[in-house]
Amino acid sequence: MATTTTNLISPKPVKIWINDILIEAEDNQTILQVARNYGIHIPTLCYLEDVTPTGSCRICVVEIEGAPKPVPSCCTFVKDGMKIYTNTPRIQTIRKVIVELLVANHDMDCLYCERNGNCELQDLAGIYNIRGHRFLGSKRQNPLDQTSMALVRDPNKCILCLRCVKVCDEVQSVHAIDVTKRGFESIVTSTFGKTIHESSCVLCGQCVRVCPTGALKERDVSTEVMEAIDDPNTVVTVQIAPSISVTIGEEFGIPVGTDVSGKLVTALKRMGFNAVFDTVFGADLTVLEEANELVKRIKNGETLPLISTCSPGWIKFMEHEFPDLIPHMSTCKSPMSMQGAIIKSFWAEKKQINPKRVYQVAIMPCMAKKFEAERSELVNDGLPNTDAVLTTRELIRMIKKFGLDLKMLPDSKYDDPLGESTGAGKIFGTSGGVMEAALRTAYWLVNKKNLENLEISQVRGLEGIKKAKIQITPEMTLNCVAASGLKNARIICDEIRAGNPNNYHFIEIMACPGGCINGGGQPRGMDLEVIKKRAQALYDLDKHYSVRLSHENTAVQRLYANFLKELGSHEAHHLLHTHYYPRSERRTK
């Protein structure tokens, strides 16, 4: 990531002036970093934290006393004695013209655009008082790409900030897209202009999260969901993923990290959903099946390490890039699909509803779940496990459309029996959570008693790769690793290919850096502090749950007793397990 070889190693304190205010900083900080620390606003477009700055949009330029031309603040390091001015008339003119140039080559359909009201370009046009078109001329004319069931790409709204390319390259190492052609004709696309559907894109949606305009968005299915709700013959069930309740409040003025589960249930009920379930129940199911699978593989000397499979972005990535590792993948479905399968069988039967009438919706922080819902293997008895997936962003829009102020709503409870949950399942929403939950149950499966300390802190936190050694019995110590972000996934997979030198037994992989709390379907923004708070909220909830172990979920116990018979049974396999297959598109072939 080096843009300079100097001063990254041992920073020295420096004194600088920004807008005649004396500030103390270190010489390994850029002007932009210092300004942000002191609340001095400098607009940016192509800048993205944790990714190499390229200084290409030029809107962050600032004047430095003594320098002949303005310099980009995102990639200029501070020096002792520097005098910086961020808002001179020259800079203001520059910013205005740059925004005007972008607007001149942009679709002017803000009123029809999904980003209306939350678009970075729109905000800049507002701040810099853009009135009228000064530079109207030729505009991009590229076709829309709506081939994927998860992601929609509109190149005419692209401002070529290349944040999506940087994320796909540097954070996810998927390399599905790159900027092609040159100059005014430049366009971000995949090899030979393939559509998203044909390319090696894994639909993780990280690019969507960082896109400043409406060039990248999810395929919005809220209309279909509303039609289902309005249809008197359809029973619409909905399940909510664990990370949603600690995220969605942010959009309604509720402090970051507050759990709004109860209010969310009320909102959904008022919107007309017939039954509201908690995906954490499904997570508990997953824990049981997967822990059972792990223990069985260890006892029988079967393929190890076992790799978790809750993350559909990771699954698609594996199918493209590492199909040889399929035998390592857990055959367990994700919580969402397990839950969906149970709803359309067990629950429908219990409620005496024809399963064909059930329209199962899932609210997910994830874009790739839309792809998961369409997988032909995730169908039981002719019915798909999930009919529609709404991302957090889509749900926020729906709630607002219904005029519901989440803050003011009273709490409601999830519907039984698929509403009972545990702390273990709740922490699925953050990286390391699946592993921790599964280990708690694996320990119990082997020892028939619980771990002394349920919290496995080595796998907590936002680092990309977290390792832990857990002693199950005096003879069995498990080497575990939790990786988030596909670049880290690639590192772990390469290790397994090379013969698993670290002798891992159990691996958790999540496609999104930090886990689902930072998923592709979550509200946009890369604020690390916010993500940390969401993760912390999940762990706090776990602490306060009365039941913290998946195998102690009574509803799950009843499910097995009355329906699934036992762990890994034929019924369990039929409903709760799946398989994978290699895909032809790879980043190199």
Binding site: R182, F192, K589
Partner: protein, 170 residues
């Protein structure tokens, strides 16, 4: 205009398939260091000089050989003007759409050619026989509409002439 330049220009335009593109280009690739990403542009230049263009399959083979993502290779190949990603036909048709030719009816010829060749302007026929280009001005306005195929010039071309002209070229 200097003496040879016109002929030279035509030589460049009538590329033609140099050699038939094989299934694998490993003989070209083996001249370069495996896994060395900085060899990408020389590799692309070598492939193009052997076979006249770079195909989609080549891109994946190069990606594998140099350990680069195919999207990066496509990004590089489309950046530089030199690289062609589609083969030129054995014969190159240049239909002049300069002002004089344009109003003398060259526009009427476009759909005629497209129908005969079964490809659009700017593309190459499926059998690799022709590449059909629209060019700005061939400098022979007195004979508009003008069509140039390889080093032959045809003036006053009417839609009924098209089939006859094309038949001459295998």
């Amino acid at each position: 205009m200097s003496i040879l330049s016109f002929e030279n220009r035509n030589k460049k335009l009538s590329g033609g398939l140099k050699k038939l593109m094989p299934a694998k280009i490993s003989d070209v690739l083996s001249r370069f260091k495996q896994g060395d990403a900085s060899e990408l542009i020389p590799v692309l230049q070598a492939v193009q000089s052997e076979y006249g263009y770079i195909s989609e399959d080549n891109t994946y083979e190069i990606a594998e050989y140099l350990n680069l993502p195919s999207s990066k290779i496509y990004g590089v190949a489309t950046f530089y003007a030199q690289f062609r990603l589609e083969p030129l036909g054995r014969h190159v048709i240049n239909l002049c759409t300069g002002t004089a030719c344009h109003v003398k009816g060259s526009e009427k010829l476009i759909p005629v050619f497209e129908q005969e060749l079964k490809c659009k302007a700017g593309e190459t026929t499926k059998d690799g026989r022709f590449t059909f280009n629209l060019v700005a001005c061939l400098g022979a306005c007195a004979l508009s509409p003008v069509v140039n195929i390889d080093s032959d010039f045809y003036g006053n071309v009417s839609p009924s002439d098209v089939k006859k002209i094309l038949r001459k070229y295998k």
